[in-house]
């Protein structure tokens, strides 16, 4: 039996691709690239794309930045890496430096309470 099929996008991957293409065509049109294809050929197109890439630079700065890691958290993470990651693997720390594996005994400073209630977390979020 014949069934109707929708002509619209059918999946998130396809939708994403269409969105990217739309974005690209809009940018090309804004930059006058279509006229350039007719008048100057593909070399100018690559120049135009480069200029679009330059225009995108401010957007790039909005991307994921360096994680802000406090000293105590950094210390804990290094201890976890030293204890739980096999030394045969080449491991880098979160900031890209090769991870050192100091063998430590118990920490010298008193260990603070880690147990954090939701109220405490909310207070921290409000404070930050």
């Amino acid at each position: 039996m014949a069934t109707d099929k929708h002509s619209g996008a059918s999946g998130p991957a396809l939708e994403a691709r269409i969105a990217v293409l739309e974005e690209l065509f809009v940018r090309l049109a804004q930059a006058g690239a279509t006229e350039c294809i007719l008048e100057n050929g593909f070399k100018t197109i690559s120049d135009r794309l480069q200029s679009i890439a330059d225009q995108m630079a401010p957007l790039r700065s909005l991307g994921p930045g360096e994680p802000q890691v406090a000293a105590e958290e950094d210390d804990r993470l290094r201890n976890l890496e030293a204890a739980l990651i096999s030394p045969q693997r080449t491991v880098k720390h979160w900031n890209g430096t090769p991870s050192e594996r100091p063998r430590k005994m118990l920490p010298d400073r008193p260990v603070e309470t880690l147990y954090d209630t939701r109220e405490q977390t909310n207070q921290r979020r409000t404070a930050s």
């Binding site: 804990r76 993470l77 739980l84 939701r118 977390t121």
Partner: protein, 378 residues
Amino acid sequence: MIRQLVNYIFEFGHAASGVTQLKDMNAATTAVLTADPLDLTLYIEQVWNSYSPTAGPARRELWKLGRFQDIPPPAPIALPNPPGDPGIPSWDHLAYSYVLENTRATQILRRVVSQYRSGESLGVPSPQTRRWLESTEALLHGAANLIAPWLSTSSARNDSEYVRRNAYWRLLGMDLAHGTPDNGPAEYVKATAANTDFVRLFEELLYELWRAISNINNQVAGNETDKDRIFRIAQELQYVLRSRRLGEMLDREELAAATVLGWVELTVSNDNFVVADLKAQSTSSANRLRMIGSRVGLPAHSKSAALLSMSEHISFLLRTIESAVITESNVTMLYQPGTGLGEATRRVITEWSAATGKDLKARARPVDVNRARLVAVK
């Protein structure tokens, strides 16, 4: 904890064990596999005491006699704070034991010990394998152990596998994929206070992390990374996991499980004397386990390769989440490529998908472009 012991000997050598050459993994593995079971027991007791100093003077004196007494246990990330706040130990997470035990390796090695002890169907073991058998009986099956408490078994709960199943159920809300060695149902106490929500939360986190990884360089359209959601799920996981650890509950069971499964993992990690005696030499741990399983008539899990491969990484990832390291301002650490934590996350996503058959990289419910819309008010 076995893994940490081998890693220390690998990095720094250990004259008392006869390992003078550094960075020799085969020598480090052999040194531990042929160690006296009492020395191993004393070392594990030392590790436990560095986290929860409860040993009396007699026990402290005793472990000074052990072969590994000069190897410092890795420092705990945080000590438990009386009267009940949980600490963060530095041994492997219970999820490490869970994924390894799912390969059915403990039952397979149990059968190996049983067949070696009861006949000659597996041949005559070499002297080194005889020592390994003694240690395996002591570590896996609690034979004549001088210091029993860390085994977390007694006449009240006398099967260590059931103790571990109980711990898996309580902390991770999961049962093992197999039953008893004769394929009967495993009967153990299923506590009512269990983290049955763990799997849903964890898979949701992995899905969000995969979206973040795939968008890490996406600076223009359609970046679906949701850092706040990743942080909230990680925080929820932290609460869920730590709620089962109040008052050091499950800590000793976790150490016992990490020791047993660490021993199992070490046994199949290379072509050592046990593997050679069992004629199961191969190029990977999963293949060695499969061949040993076929020799004793107990098949390993079909996804053993994925389970073995992610054990170290899932341990690191979950312990990091549990240790309150992840905050709103540094949540990108979880998926930063090229770093230890980022790589662990990625490996867990890949292997968890392979082991469970769930495609974590696909949206659980596709976007419905033809969904019903609100009608206009007339």
